[in-house]
């Protein structure tokens, strides 16, 4: 079972309460598709992903980025039971979407960097470590049902 201190809980909830999902979600997904282009393999139905410019103005990418970010809300609301909370989503990603679980880490790294860019020096090493711990637990839960 993952343990969360009071400090960690408040750090995580602060990050999300100040987050503009409609901005950060798209930015994180765009960054992932640009920095790790092989991740585009899961989005062949999204249309024009030919270059960074096209990706960053693609409305389907933006919409999906928002959706994915809201997916993190579940973890936020169920910090003490993330594994069970994501069981269904894990099955979805494995059996329907066929996403290589290594990709979860790539997206989570991009999200970290987008948030770092927004918060600047407020994204201290301690805040970063806590946020990365949170994302690592989510990533692990999403990979749990693969077999």
């Amino acid at each position: 079972m993952v343990e969360w201190s009071e400090n960690e809980r408040s750090i995580i909830s602060n990050i999300f309460s100040n987050l503009d999902y409609n901005d950060v979600g798209p930015k994180a997904l765009v960054r992932c598709l640009v920095v790790y282009p092989w991740t585009q393999r899961y989005f062949s139905s999204f249309g024009n992903l030919y270059n960074a410019e096209a990706i960053s103005t693609n409305p389907k990418v933006a919409a999906h980025g928002i959706k994915v970010l809201h997916g993190l809300d579940r973890a936020l609301k169920n910090l003490d039971n993330i594994k069970a909370t994501y069981a269904e989503l894990s099955v979805l990603h494995s059996e329907k979407l066929h996403v290589d679980p290594d990709n979860f880490k790539l997206l989570s790294d991009c999200l970290t960097i987008v948030i770092a860019g927004k918060l600047g020096s407020a994204f201290t090493p301690e805040v970063q470590a806590t946020f990365q711990k949170f994302l690592a637990v989510v990533v692990s839960a999403l990979g749990k049902q693969y077999h």
Binding site: V30, R31, V34, V35, A52, I55, S56, D109, T112, I113, V114, A116, G117, K118, L119, G120, S121, F123, P125, E126, Q128, A129, Q132
Partner: protein
Amino acid sequence: MQHFKGHFLLLLEARTGNSICQVLFSQHYTERDRTSATMLSNKEKDLIKEIWERLTPVAAEIGADALLRMFASYPGTKTYFSHLDISPNSSHLLSHGKKIVLAIAEGAQDISQLTVTLAPLQTLHAYQLRVDPRNFKLLSHSMLVSLACYLGDEFTPVAHAAMDKYLSAFAAVLAEKYR
């Protein structure tokens, strides 16, 4: 054309395992240059060079920040620094951070010469420091976060991609003499 030739010969080598092909291949690219030469476009190399030139005056600040982030997120990395004071703002931390950033910036001046530029550091890391190369990835990630914090919106997805590739190439070259 050169690029295509190199690629074709690489395929040939992979298929036949023929050492003659390997010799031909190395006439067009040296094995050492292949990593950085083919991974980065000229535009990306210019972008990387420009960013590190701008960060050189704040090398100590950026380097110390990256190190602190790495120590906080990956406590195992602290084991390599038991002989130093790595508390925030310590002189050890600042001078060490500066050293690292300046080495990265120097490499960025001429990425195609990375193996030559890093030769002394290759030896140092392989024979003396013997830092497990998996840690290079951890520092690279921490460095990217420092850059994002420092540069904000300027650290665009394209800049991030280029920087990630450069730091990967840098780490790969650094580990070349390990075994």
